[in-house]
């Protein structure tokens, strides 16, 4: 089984983010592998490990697929050090400022031509937080969509995948024939820490860097345009009292004044 895991390099969630010319400024901040994508990498590794592992030359493999600046190789190395086999990075100046539609188009093209059986994604990136790329990928590829999975099970013999979908709307059992697009929620597993051996091995693994022409898609004009952006003013300082036996009553008084009670 060949699994593709889509990952994104994002600004560290602790970093202060700002907009420059209508897009997120990615230059001046620390960049890391999107937290939520680590669960996707982990789940892909667990699936291949349950079916004979992903030794070089074997039937199973996990390929990291990403779109971003050259610098995204740092995040990709982390996924490789966890145990993925290799990676494809689509990097092209024409893709700067791409939205989910452009991203899904590029990723779908790479996946379509990669001979994959299964794509696994995180549910969202911690920077844009749109949560739509997995659904868009399924639509573009014409593959089954099994998203927000808190459990994934693959049966290679039957060529099927089943998941438990967990959202605010409840819990669903969903199954499909492969190929399929799966996204996983963070409670699905505990991502492994890369071992020293894994980190050393990752340095030798291949990251296949491609531009748009190699992928075979053209850059599109944007589907949406940012008119303006501005930092929100900081909240005005509030009132702070120390509880000396009356703190609860003080809180009730405040809530009454504000008409919450």
């Amino acid at each position: 089984m060949k699994i593709a895991v889509c990952v994104k390099q994002v600004p560290d969630s602790w970093a202060e983010k700002k907009m420059v010319n209508g897009v997120l400024d990615r230059e001046g901040v620390d960049a890391v592998l999107n937290d939520l994508d680590e669960y996707a990498v982990e789940e892909a590794l667990r699936i291949v490990e349950a079916h004979g592992g992903n030794e070089e030359g074997g039937a199973n493999s996990v390929t990291i697929v990403s779109m971003g600046p050259e610098r995204a190789t740092e995040a990709i190395r982390k996924a490789l050090s966890m145990g993925a086999n290799d990676a494809i990075l689509v990097s092209d100046a024409a893709l700067a400022g791409s939205d989910a539609l452009a991203t899904s188009k590029v990723l779908a093209e790479v996946i379509k031509n990669g001979g994959f059986d299964l794509v696994i994604c995180g549910t969202e990136s911690t920077d844009a937080r749109m949560s739509v790329v997995p659904a868009m990928l399924a639509q573009r590829l014409g593959w089954a969509q099994l998203t927000f999975a808190s459990m994934v099970s693959v049966d290679p013999a039957a060529n099927t995948v089943s998941i438990t979908r967990t959202t605010e709307a409840g819990v669903d059992a969903i199954n499909a024939k492969l190929p399929a697009v799966v996204s996983v929620v963070e409670k699905i597993n505990e991502p492994r820490y890369p071992s020293f051996k894994g980190i050393m091995a990752a340095k030798k693994k291949t990251i296949d860097s491609r531009d748009l022409a190699t992928v075979g898609v053209s850059a599109e004009s944007a589907w949406s345009l940012v008119a303006d952006s501005a930092p929100r003013p900081p909240r005005a300082a509030g009132v702070k009292v120390t509880d000396e036996g009356n703190g609860g009553n003080d809180l009730v008084k405040f809530l009454t004044e504000k008409k919450f009670i």
């Binding site: 907009m19 749109m130 593959w143 979908r165 669903d172 009292v241 504000k258």
Partner: protein, 317 residues
């Protein structure tokens, strides 16, 4: 007058207030049609619950595929409706299902998409609060139908009665939308409390609860509030992950947010700092959460909350 379609939002068999919020935004410069996706024979009853907000028409599509093929079938139906009726925009509730449906419709109709809008102006400029609510962005879809998902509880809904004209539309869901099959569905376990993302008031507990949420829940119930939790509390197994507020959990924007025993790590703030009013109870006077507080009590939540609960209950009786 241009036409805007909204996807009517349901909790079980009842139309939610979110539907009226979508209609309110859409009606600023257009006639509003609500799309109701229903199981066979269930359309009329569902449509009858779409009775609040400025909705001129209801378009009912019945198919067994909506239950068995979920997001993909819904998106397929909506893309067909858009192709037939050419609305200028489609507004959908910003939750997992709504965003995924919108995403697929955007691809199918080659249209732009904006997610998590907190407001939509008459010219379809969407307002978003990004980077944990620290930055306001205004943007517009520039290609195709403007597909915008709107965060529940952000727009003040016009809840006046409406008597929309109901039209039934029959469609055949494409085979490519039937690749994944739902074999069973369990609705969320409903406590007596409101849904976290829709609640007017949210009371959340964190590390300071030490795993005992009784005081937090008691205060929440006195106010009719939803209960939230910080990642520290859900990771420790003290409260279900479904209640986690923050960057990797839910984003809430209630009228009132009460943070109890929560230090205010940036990940948590990202999920709640757009709340209209914020109150804080924390033992540590240096906790960063106090920077956001309109009203803060430095004190032990196990002393402050029971007293406050008693005070609220006394006032209400």
């Amino acid at each position: 007058m241009s036409q805007i379609f909204i996807l009517a939002d349901f909790a079980g068999d009842k139309c939610t207030k979110t539907t009226a919020e979508l209609a309110t935004a859409a009606a600023r410069n257009a006639s509003v049609t609500a799309i109701v996706l229903a199981g066979p024979g269930a359309g009329a009853a569902l449509a009858a619950t779409v009775k609040h907000g400025p909705i001129a028409n209801v378009l009912v599509v019945e198919s067994a595929d909506f239950a068995t093929h979920g997001v993909a079938a819904a998106a397929d139906a909506i893309a067909q409706i858009i192709a037939q009726k050419s609305p200028t925009a489609l507004l959908v509730a910003s939750h997992a299902y709504g965003k995924e449906v919108a995403g697929r419709v955007a691809v199918a109709t080659d249209s732009g998409i904006i997610t998590d809008a907190v407001d939509v102006a008459a010219d379809l400029t969407a307002t978003q609060l990004v980077f944990g609510g620290s930055t306001t962005v205004h943007s517009k879809v520039s290609k195709g139908v403007a597909i915008i998902t709107v965060r529940p509880n952000s727009i003040e809904a016009d809840l006046s009665d409406s008597a929309p004209a109901v039209e039934n539309l029959s469609l055949t869901i494409s085979d490519t939308a039937k690749l994944a099959t739902t074999t069973s569905s369990t609705p969320p376990v409903k406590g007596g409390r409101p849904e976290l993302t829709e609640a007017q008031i949210v009371v959340s507990g964190g590390r300071g609860t030490n795993g005992d949420f009784a005081a937090v829940e008691g205060f929440a119930d006195s106010l009719g509030a939803a209960v939230g939790a910080s990642r520290a509390a859900t990771d420790a197994g003290w409260y279900p992950h479904s209640h986690q507020v923050g960057q990797t959990g839910k984003t809430v924007s209630p009228q009132l947010y009460v943070a109890c025993g929560i230090s205010g790590a940036i990940q948590h703030r990202a999920g709640m700092q757009t709340s209209k009013t914020i109150a804080v109870v924390n033992k540590d006077p240096e906790a960063p959460i106090f920077d956001l507080a309109d009203f803060g009590v430095v004190g032990d939540l196990f002393a402050v909350l029971p007293q406050a609960t008693q005070g609220v209950t006394a006032q209400k009786s």
